[in-house]
Symmetry: C2
Subunit: 441 residues, 2 copies
């Protein structure tokens, strides 16, 4: 180990999850670059003696949460769509009108402000990496800004200023549906075509921004453009994300256009070719055939949003049996709490199946399995598997702690602490948050 | 107004719900006995000038939450039943075995301690009144303590020492089911018969304790005893509570014994005779006929527990259409948060119906309707309608505040604050809690 890599700080905690395993009294040595250089258990011989020791106290130390699907700007309508009146947001589609009105009014400055607010709430909730599914690109009406990536760069600036890791899931949007060009309120989402979109992606990548490719949905992107995006993604090793089968109407329109399900269209367009290269967001209304085709890929479930919008319950048990890896997202950001998302993923399946212990892992543990969905699987989905989602040697110290002095945890035996958090808790007990070794909360 | 009733304190808040109505800048005058004597809006002429003014700051001031169904001792197994291993709590019924092991090990001292802990968490979550559905009465094996109400009195002491209002829903439990006498682990729940039970109730009432009558379920109590309890309840104006149709097996056993549904058995035994005198807890697996029979009565939904135990979604929209009033409970106390219970009541219906705005009131407001379920309806269900569940003149100042300086609320316009709390929030933003004018948090 070179002198430069000598640990500068050793963090100790009462309990934690290191290298995917529950550990009592873990320590992690973190060097000046913010990387974990060694790990162990307090009292062992390998703990560095020349480092500053920081005991985090009576906490669980967990890998930073990874939010695989966010629309940060929708934080602006939290609480504002639950009332009948001039509008009547009593369906997904009428809710969408309220959301579009919000999107249409945004400026570069307000996009920065609301995104910064949402990302700040994420950090405080233990989220250290976010995939922002960003689709507001141009001026109202569709005219590009002088810099065609002006709004994407506001999202990047908000993440940088808050200190959260970002994967910019840059969205391609081309039409209202297969019969209808973009509505006026959708025009600022739209590029002139897939080539103009990929030029913007080239530009973002040339600036060193972590990018994923996100055709919005089978509704908003015709098949040749879907294929072009997949080719570009595979050529450059970029993650591919899309909204998929969130609402029955989307499936019906897809049948009318393509004579097959959205999953089948994406599979035929090449999205499932690269192992773990594709993330289907929602996948609520998917058949057993669809689920088989998604085997080896990811589904991102967003349970609080899927309940809020009346989408339905993600069939996480069936997906897992089909070999699909389920990640989690905060989506509309009405709720920003991946602990609740994980809990409600399990609880939705308990309601659907009228049974308990639905997503337990091979060892029977549920808390660890739900934590994995909220960390490792999300990182994998965002193409960040070697960086985020896990605490271990050679990785950045992206972590959060949960205060066990919260009365919520009083009297709970250590082996049940993580199950209690993931099956009954919220992110309200988050205490510290670190990104790349820097304390952010 | 007599001198003794002069207000001693005027509380001001940024916003609030007073007399069931959203108010900006409300004030409430509270006298030395803890009762509200006058209310108004800051700046009006009626605000007392001779009182101490306490500005609660940037908060919403809301009536104290009423938790209509709790098993406090089950707080002891929070997080402990989500793992396969020696036991396999993968169904409601195998979960119950873990819960029974916990119940069997409790002593008077540990019942006091765990109940105090649970009630303390309730207070911190804004709950000022709880209906404790208490069924552990006797020593392990069934031998009564020297005072046959020894354990009930521990619950009463815990509530008193914490400072939460209690309605003791004293449980009658007589058998495992219609074919099976009480199992060994159920014997400490059981009285010798309905007469012995009613003697205990007489004794509790003579001590001035607020009591409700709670035959545990149609499974655990034969019909003649159900009838005797209803007669006693009606004669003394006591609320009647029972578990009803939580699990399909309960319905099947009831059909085998009675040839009718649990609801029909309770209706025929007289439980629906007195308007609003009866509360059916859960009512998940009820038919349209059942729901009609429950019209004018209460159902207590416990959504976090009903998800945890794989019970199913309470059909709250159908119940409301049948004229049933839906209250809320924390039940197993894995989660202690009536804001989440209210939110998940609505969200469960959105998932079930795949639509939005399911429980909005006549004026279209959802937040107020959900708040009412968590306050007024619960108070009514517990026979406390004239005391709890509402802030207004002549009532105790039982209230809590929600801190609008929580980043969760940043940028939300005042008309949407309550919808944001009830449709996306948790109790983590509770700041102050008052019971009878005494600050408890």
């Amino acid at each position: 180990m070179s002198a430069a890599a000598e640990p500068s700080t050793v963090y100790r905690a009462a309990h934690g999850v290191v290298d995917g395993v529950w550990v009592d009294a873990p320590w992690l040595a973190v060097d000046a670059s913010g990387a974990v250089t060694r790990t162990g258990v307090v009292g062992d011989r390998s703990e560095p003696t020349d480092a500053v020791v920081r005991d985090l106290g009576p906490v669980m130390l967990l890998p930073g949460l990874v939010n695989a699907h966010s629309h940060a700007f929708q934080r602006a309508i939290r609480g504002a769509t639950h009332r009948r009146g001039a509008s009547d947001p009593s369906s997904f589609w009428s809710w969408r009108e309220a959301m579009y009105r919000c999107a249409d009014a945004l400026t570069p400055e307000s996009i920065y402000a609301i995104t910064r607010r949402a990302f700040g709430e994420m950090l405080r909730a233990g989220i250290t990496c976010v995939g922002e599914f960003h689709y507001i690109h141009h001026q109202p009406g569709g005219q590009p800004y002088d810099d065609a990536n002006a709004l994407s760069l506001q999202v990047v600036a908000a993440a940088r200023d808050v200190g959260i890791r970002l994967v910019l899931l840059e969205v391609l949007y081309l039409r209202a549906d297969h019969r209808t060009p973009a509505l006026p309120e959708q025009q600022r989402f739209c590029d002139a075509g897939v080539d103009a979109y990929l030029r913007r992606v080239d530009d973002l990548r040339s600036r060193g921004i972590q990018v994923g490719l996100a055709p919005h949905s089978v509704r908003a992107v015709p098949r040749p453009a879907l294929e072009a995006v997949a080719r570009y993604g595979h050529a450059h090793g970029l993650p591919l994300h899309t909204h998929l089968s969130e609402q029955p109407r989307e499936n019906e329109q897809c049948q009318a256009e393509h004579g097959r399900s959205p999953t089948a269209v994406f599979a035929e367009a090449g999205y499932c070719e690269r192992p773990a290269g594709f993330t289907a967001v929602h996948a609520v209304h998917t058949s057993a055939d669809d689920q088989r085709q998604l085997g080896g890929q990811h589904v991102c479930a967003c349970p609080t949003t899927e309940a809020d919008l009346g989408d339905g319950i993600v069939p996480a048990v069936d997906l897992r049996e089909a070999g699909v890896h389920v990640a989690l997202g905060s989506d509309s950001n009405a709720v920003i709490d991946l602990v609740q998302e994980a809990r409600l993923l399990e609880m939705g399946e308990r309601l659907r199946g009228q049974a308990r212990l639905r997503l337990n892992d091979e060892q029977g543990a549920l808390g660890l399995g739900l934590l994995r969905a909220a960390t490792e699987t999300g990182a994998w989905s965002l193409g960040q598997a070697d960086r985020s989602g896990r605490l271990g040697v050679g990785r950045p110290f992206d972590a959060f702690t949960v205060g066990l002095d919260d009365p919520f945890f009083h009297g709970i035996a250590p082996p049940h602490l993580l199950d209690a958090l993931m099956c009954a808790g919220t992110s309200a007990s988050v205490r510290h948050v670190f990104v790349g070794g820097v304390a952010r909360v």
